[in-house]
Symmetry: C2
Subunit: 367 residues, 2 copies
């Protein structure tokens, strides 16, 4: 599989949904496979909250491959011998695309809290601009899970002629208060930590000293990505062997897991990006610029595939089902397919239960 | 309804499950109604994590009545014209019973982090001692929701001859990792807040200045008490009218609710008590001192009533159902009744959906 990482700088302004302007801006992206001559084999993959453009392949020195390496590759579900796959780091993120730690042109000052609030539409618009600059004006499919699914839906509604198919996994048409509440715990934990310094923390220093607020926020996120069943299977009521049961700070295995997975989060993710991207997720609402969901879905010209996971407690299957039902209501029955995958893994299923849904994607791409 | 509040001091040691000793200790309790001559009309009500002995009635100057005022009272579900109801503040709590801010006898020093880890069994043992001292050696029923339900189950297993009936609502036989994870976020937020000062905070000062960690912890708790449906119904995606949608710190109604309900938490609850009581909840396991759940339930001589709520995401109906199934397995079918109440309110249903379960309690008490 041919992998390429690149960065593209745009000097044209990006007009944001908020009315503000991002100018200039940069996008980092990765591609897998080779673009064919008539540029007709493109598949866009969209990442989630803490994801990045590094969706597949293993870089030298890395212990872990890209976040959807089980899906994208030669002979895999999204076959890179056939398709040219692009994954773009969203604006607002911290992996190279323009975000809160970028500098305000032409000064040497970073945006920090002056960074504009961005939306899923803005993330998608920026990607469309990138594809334009690469001479890519159409795609076979746009695919994404969680926040990536929001982007896929947004592509379908706001750029209806761009892709033939849109595949959303573990996502929603509008973020519900339950998900907003989990984000709230994380956001508060970040903002209220003195280490946040009103957004003016030293990124190096927090990596050295840790950032408890971000770790606590990550824990809240982790709960929402799992499910009671997956936790029961994974951790049971096992207690750390070295801790006493009657030690106030003694730990269950599930607590050790949460500690372990949250403590290092600051080493690879930025607190301000967490605030900006959760904000984008919270305010995502596919109906916002239209009268209703019927109205917005009516714009869709492609076929959309909805893959929900039964135990997903962050974006419930009922939210995905609502998209299907609305498509049927507006007589777009032929343009929608809904699948509810049986999994105990909760929201994380779209990352870890690949064998359970890869055939749906393969069939969708073949159709 | 006759209401009485009292405090009882014990100079005898309380031998704790951990092997440690609490000596002396005090219990604060409230009673409703009147004890009959042969002391045969007692009902014990057990409170949850942040509850107190103040279960019913309205005290002068208070805006809110006791936490189960809809259930306990003259002519109510637990009829105080007939029953003498007792509710005891658990040890470890912060409403008057001995807890982490109590003084280590005979010094003038507070326990703080030197307070022993307590268990549900310890809480129950202390209550039994109180009832003994009041000459009460039997009860019609022990009733409680959430952690109160754990106490009820513990009464049934460890003091099998004390009460004729045990009614558990929204509870479990052993706390599962999902619930431990929610507590983990809260515990970390408290411990890692510099205001915690390793347990040596000034209680007055944190009330004046606030304690962000406790507030964040409370938010995590609140999520687990609600459900996606109850949040959707209560808050929808409504946004604060005065906030801009594209303001990074603008708030949804659900965020305002979480802010409001968590900010003031420090005014009425103590961070160390939160740590000690969540620890007691985390390590609650009705099978611990027995070989299996079969073994422990085999000790039960009374009838147990299990009331679960369909949308409870903290202690799932399946956990309560497991108690019923195990009772049936050990041929105690006649001694168990399981009810799954249809409610959207999540875990909080045992506090707010009284009309949906009061008849079950009334029938149980009449049997």
């Amino acid at each position: 599989m041919k992998i390429n990482r690149a960065k593209k700088k745009f000097t044209n302004p990006l007009y944001l949904e908020s009315g503000r302007i991002l100018e200039p801006y940069e996008l980092v992206y990765e591609t897998y496979g080779e673009l064919n001559e008539d540029k007709s084999n493109v598949i866009v993959v969209c990442h989630a909250l803490t994801g990045s453009h590094h969706a597949a392949g293993l870089y030298e020195g890395d212990r872990k491959p890209g976040w959807w390496d089980g899906v994208i590759g030669d002979g895999k579900c999204i076959d890179t011998r056939k398709y040219f796959v692009i994954c773009v780091n969203v604006i607002g993120s911290c992996f190279g695309s323009t975000g809160p730690l970028s500098k305000i042109y032409p000064t040497d000052k970073e945006y920090r809290l002056k960074f504009p609030v961005i939306t899923i539409s803005d993330m998608v618009k920026a990607q469309i601009n990138l594809f334009d600059s690469l001479g890519i004006h159409k795609a076979e499919a746009v695919i994404g899970g969680s926040m990536g699914g929001m982007q896929a839906l947004c592509f379908a509604i706001e750029h209806p002629r761009f892709a033939k198919k849109h595949i959303m996994l573990a996502s929603t048409y509008a973020t519900q208060p339950w998900a907003i509440a989990f984000n709230k715990v994380a956001r508060e934990a970040i903002i209220k930590d003195p280490a946040f310094e009103n957004g003016n923390y030293d990124p190096k220093k927090i990596k050295e000293r840790g950032f408890e607020g971000l770790a606590i926020g990550r824990m809240s996120g982790h709960i929402s990505y799992l499910s009671p069943d997956s936790m029961a299977k994974k951790f049971g009521r096992f207690y750390d062997e070295r801790d006493g049961l009657y030690d106030l700070f003694g730990k269950f295995q599930v607590e050790k897991y949460l500690d372990y997975n949250s403590k290092n989060f600051v080493q690879w993710f930025d607190p301000l990006s967490y605030l900006y991207i959760t904000k984008a997720i919270n305010i995502f609402d596919a109906t916002r610029n239209y009268n209703s969901l019927e109205d917005s879905l009516n714009r869709i010209k492609s076929k959309i595939y909805l893959i929900a996971f039964r135990s997903d407690l962050l974006f419930l299957p009922s939210e995905m089902k609502h998209i299907e039902e609305t498509m049927i209501k507006i007589e777009k029955t032929e343009q929608v397919e809904y699948y509810e995958v049986d999994s105990d893994y909760g929201h994380d299923a779209f990352l870890v239960e690949i064998p359970k849904f890869e055939e749906i994607i393969m069939r969708a791409l073949k159709e």
